[in-house]
């Protein structure tokens, strides 16, 4: 009994002591007057992660929805038997399962022909088949025109080329990701856009409140300008485009993060950055218009490749060095990084239409151009960008040739070359030296990485609030270490969402591949998204010491005008690969009209 009483009093004493502590703690809280800023941050730091996750999900789910129509451009018909739909502008025909139109007859070659649509209407190209291709009984040497109603025969399999008819039920393409799309059947783009605007406005106010000096308008105006530009472009999309708007919305979100980063690291270039975003949107729209026609796209390719060679020559002669790499051009009124623009030409240079791709397996021109780019980058001592070009080259080259041995051979050569470069250039070697154990070099060559890690960790999951970070004071924080700034000020959840948005772009492109109407779009979308992926990996993992720090930008998020415009330009290739219309995409009849027009009926 005594023991019980003793224990009870002990527990009571303990509770009393603890309660005293709690009261003392609360009193300490209240003794400090709470400023409005403090209170604001306290509230919004919970809102930001919620909005970021919502925006991510609300953009991802609709884009993976397979509803909307798959266009059919015509049919190959066996009289009174059955018809095979023509789903693309470029269709490989043959016995192989990998052909778009499979004709499973023994005398048809595995890859027999390519039926494609271009400036001059539909053409058919023989891929060196044994049985040959005939149009209306006439043998086709290399390629020949096909008109509606013509009879096409592969070896001795005869088909009639018939136009797409109205009233035919459109074939729904089944996708393994269907269930994902079904998760959010009622997601409207307008609401998602509203969430983004709220995020950006609240974020801008947070940064303005956190600033002790300087005019608040200097920060507010650029954000308002951004919001206006986003609004106008969103309006244009809603009015004049029938495609999904979620891709643009994702990028709006990233551009907002970009301005948050610039507002705290380099407030002076905030206006320049907004102008770059707007310029990017214009370029984005323009490129889409141009490459709508594959023939125009091909012309653009030759023009841009020509310009790129000039740019690289210019860079090598009058280039300026910043952060060790000589990759800037100063024209007095404007400074920019030419190699950023070369990326656009590089992606285009790798493209080819399916008939070219299957007939000429010659990659010499592309390899030559890639080699020139990478050599120029090595001369500029820009290691990071040369890695981007090289890996993108591998991705495109494999799409072009399909030959894994060639790719392996090229890779092996490049790895050897890379070793040579690393051992010859002590500056680069020193980066590798710290890699993996940066804490041992916390104040020398591991300075940036350790700061990124420690300040990322300081942000926790919710972040400290925009403008309350210390990472901004570290060199290159606004470009190379942006992931750290996102983590510190906006929290790990928001930062992770931003990276996942870029990762999603890759899944999106892979998802679109099957439905692309031309290999031109498929290859350019793959090339563009590869560049995004590699930059993200090098930037994020470089700053976090999972990879050596190479100093490349995080697409859309890092500070930099050239980088922003080019990211938008590359994005246009991804957008062009998406042929689908959104469910509420307006008049269906209009759609068929245009289709027929496109089919050159």
């Amino acid at each position: 009994m005594d023991i019980l009483i003793e224990n009870a009093t002990q527990i009571m004493d303990g509770i009393r002591a603890w309660a005293d502590r709690v009261v003392e703690g609360i009193a300490a809280y209240l003794s400090n007057p709470i400023e409005f800023v403090e209170f604001y941050t306290f509230v919004v730091r919970w809102i930001f992660p919620v909005l970021a996750v919502l925006v991510l999900l609300r953009c991802v789910l609709p884009l993976l929805r397979s509803s909307g129509s798959d266009r059919i451009w015509g049919f190959l018909e066996i009289k009174d038997a059955y018809r095979i739909p023509i789903m693309h502008w470029e269709n490989s025909i043959g016995r192989s399962k990998l052909s778009d139109i499979v004709i499973n007859l023994p005398f048809v070659s595995r890859s027999h022909a390519v039926l494609s649509y271009g400036e001059s209407g539909w053409t058919i190209a023989d891929l060196g088949s044994k049985g040959g291709v005939r149009v209306n009984g006439e043998i086709i040497e290399k390629s020949g025109r096909v008109e509606i109603g013509d009879t096409i025969s592969f070896a001795s399999a005869e088909f009639q080329f018939v136009p797409e008819e109205e009233g035919i039920e459109r074939i729904k393409r089944k996708s393994r990701l269907d269930w994902l799309g079904k998760l959010g059947p009622n997601i409207t783009a307008g609401k998602t856009f509203l969430f983004i605007l709220v995020f950006q406005l609240l974020g801008a106010i947070q940064i303005i409140l956190s600033k002790e000096e300087g005019s608040p308008l200097g920060v507010l105006y650029p954000f308002l300008l951004l919001i206006a530009a986003e609004g106008i472009y969103y309006f244009i999309l809603s009015k004049f485009s029938k495609k999904y708007r979620e891709l643009e919305l994702l990028i709006y979100f990233l551009c907002g993060m970009n301005l948050f980063v610039v507002a705290v690291t380099a407030p002076g270039s905030l206006m320049k950055q907004v102008v770059a975003i707007i310029l990017g949107m214009i370029v984005y729209a323009a490129i889409q218009l141009i490459i709508k026609d594959v023939g125009r796209g091909r012309k653009l390719k030759y023009i841009l490749v020509g310009c790129s060679i000039l740019l690289m020559l210019l860079n090598l002669t009058i280039g300026e060095a910043r952060f060790g790499a000589k990759n800037w051009i100063n024209l007095g009124f404007i400074t920019f990084q030419p190699m950023e623009f070369v990326k656009v030409a590089f992606v285009l240079a790798g493209t080819a239409t399916l008939d070219k791709l299957l007939t000429t397996r010659n990659l010499t021109a592309f390899i030559g151009f890639s080699g020139t780019c990478i050599a120029a980058l090595i001369l500029m001592r820009d290691l990071g960008t040369s890695v981007i070009f090289f890996i993108t080259f591998l991705v495109i080259a494999f799409m072009r040739s399909g030959d894994i041995r060639t790719i392996a051979f090229i890779s092996a050569g490049a790895v050897l070359g890379a070793f040579a470069v690393v051992s010859f250039l002590p500056y680069i070697a020193s980066r590798f030296q710290a890699w993996g154990h940066v804490w041992e070099f916390a104040d020398t060559i591991g300075y940036q990485q350790t700061r990124t890690l420690m300040y990322s960790a300081s942000g926790g999951l919710l972040g400290l609030g925009g403008g309350n970070g210390y990472l901004v004071g570290i060199p290159a924080a606004d470009t190379d270490l942006v992931f750290g700034i996102l983590c510190e000020e906006w929290g790990f959840i928001v930062a992770l969402c931003a990276v996942l948005m870029i990762v999603f772009l890759a899944f999106y492109v892979l998802f679109l591949m099957r439905g692309c109407k031309s290999s031109f779009y498929a290859i350019s979308a793959c090339g563009a998204v590869s560049i995004f992926l590699i930059q993200t990996a090098l930037n994020v993992f470089g700053s976090l010491d999972l990879l050596p720090l190479t100093g490349v930008t995080l697409p859309f998020v890092s500070n930099g005008g050239s980088s922003m415009v080019v990211c938008w330009a590359l994005l246009s290739f991804i957008k062009a690969a998406d042929e689908r219309n959104r469910p509420d995409g307006g008049d269906f009849a209009l759609d068929t009209d245009e289709t027929r027009e496109g089919a050159g009926a």
Binding site: G25, N32, E90, A457, G459, G460, G465
Partner: protein, 460 residues
């Protein structure tokens, strides 16, 4: 397009690599974020390398040991307490790695995984981050004064609850008036080392407590045996000496008089393996984790030793080294019926800790019988050799050690033991480097400090 879909697999690999990287980083972040944040250059948590403690650090009586006021660290008001607790609390620059400021920086700084370093209202006294140590500031101050500036350490802990009450390491300094440590390398030799946790000394005769325990368990009729000591003996060519001839001694007398020759014979009979086994039971060759802080291992390697080496090993003079805290817990286990209670440094103050339930880490080291007999012998040591009048009312059981360190230097002075009192279950260790006689020098420090400890425990 099927062909190109197939060939887009390069892109798929890239994508999966990036996803893998994101996963790796996320896992890394989850595991390591707290240690990344606790870097002295993190301006959210440190100012000029000083931890901006969000919480206050208290001693067991609620005295503030460390707090941050207006961004500046404030230690205890009393200079003696500050100096005595330097190694427990830590200096402002994180030099003492076993101190609370370094070992518990994540808790003290107020960092947490959800909020990171975020502090609402910049209020740095979040009671969430408060910590209370088991140490008694006044008692530590008394121990500091009793050491009179000599190098060494004093440790006292409750062998039933594990609470460390006193932990003083010398040399030390006042963290609020940091001296120029580099200018006086002799005076401040190893000042950043907590000698209780991180030192290892030659144990000397204190090690006979280990040998005696082994002898009781393994040698028949050990208590009736008589060893003959003539002051020196040659064993396999190695000379073992005693300060004087002890004549015919029993084990109990040998321990009380610290007769080297008797223990040399016992060691030879036990053999290296048994001795090694008992040394490891006593805590040698292992470090103890005290609320997350690891102690240095004491080293004993005698399984292969023979002859003279083995004889000297049993006396604690071979290549053996002992960590003071480890020996203290060994003595504590003798006091606690052979069960070692791992010492604790943090006193839980939250509501959860009030719930019943035994959260102490315990380990049986000796059989109850051996522990009891060894305890009686240690009590006898005090009565016969160290003088009961020096330790009035303490019911002291102890063993002294005078560890030869070679060269012209004076031996290290050891005194370990415990109070055989239900109301005051304390075990202790005192080491004074190059102090001379164990029982006289370290023993007198122990006597003074223990009298105060008994008073302090009675007051609680």
């Amino acid at each position: 397009m099927k062909l190109l879909t197939r060939r887009a697999f390069g892109l798929l690999i890239l994508t999966l690599l990036l996803v893998a990287g994101v996963l790796i980083f996320t896992v890394n972040y989850a595991i390591n974020a707290d240690s990344w944040a606790q870097h002295a250059t993190n301006k959210h948590l440190y100012t000029d390398g000083q931890l901006k403690t969000a919480g206050k650090l208290y001693d067991r009586n609620g005295e503030i040991l460390l707090q941050t006021v207006d961004g500046i660290q404030k230690y205890n008001v009393d200079k003696t307490v500050r100096s005595a607790l330097l190694h427990a609390v830590g200096d402002s620059y994180g030099n003492i790695v076993t101190s609370a400021q370094v070992a518990y920086s994540d808790k003290l700084s107020g960092w947490d995984p959800l909020n990171g370093a975020y502090r609402f209202n910049n209020n740095l006294s979040s009671f969430n981050s408060d910590m209370t140590l088991t140490l008694d500031g006044e008692l530590c101050a008394a121990a500091y004064q009793a050491m009179k500036g000599r190098k060494g350490t004093v440790g006292i802990y409750n062998y039933k609850t594990g609470a460390l009450l006193c932990m003083v390491s010398m040399p030390t300094f006042d963290p609020e008036n940091r001296p120029d440590v580099e200018a006086k390398p002799d005076q401040y030799e190893g000042v950043y080392m907590n000698r209780l946790f991180s030192a290892a000394y030659t144990p000397g005769s204190v090690f006979k407590l280990v040998t005696a325990a082994a002898a009781m368990d393994h040698l028949e009729n050990i208590h009736t045996r008589v060893y003959q000591c003539e002051g020196e003996r040659i064993i396999n060519g190695a000379k073992v000496t005693c300060p004087k001839s002890h004549g015919n001694v029993t084990l109990e007398q040998a321990l009380a008089e610290s007769c080297n020759i008797a223990f040399a014979e016992i060691s030879l009979e036990l053999g290296g393996k048994t001795l090694q086994n008992y040394a490891e039971k006593a805590g040698f060759n292992a470090s103890i984790k005290i609320d997350g802080i690891r102690t240095l291992e004491g080293k004993v390697n005698v399984s292969e030793a023979e002859g003279g080496d083995l004889a000297w090993a049993g006396i604690g003079q071979y290549s053996n080294t002992a960590n003071p805290l480890t020996l203290m817990t060994y003595v504590g286990s003798i006091a606690n019926d052979g069960i070692r209670v791992t010492p604790r440094l943090i006193r839980e103050t939250n509501l959860l800790s009030l719930l019943p339930g035994d959260r102490l880490r315990k380990k049986r080291v000796l059989s109850e019988e051996t522990a009891e007999t060894l305890g009686i012998m240690m009590r006898n040591n005090v009565k016969e050799s160290y003088g009961e009048h020096n330790f009035k009312g303490l019911e002291l059981c102890a063993k002294s050690g005078t560890a030869e360190v070679g060269g012209d230097e004076k031996p290290h002075s050891w005194f370990v033991g415990y109070l055989n009192r239900e109301d005051c279950p304390l075990a202790f260790v005192v080491v004074i480097e190059n102090g001379g006689s164990g029982s006289k020098v370290a023993g007198s420090v122990a006597g003074k400090v223990l009298q105060i400890a008994v008073q302090r425990v009675a007051e609680e």
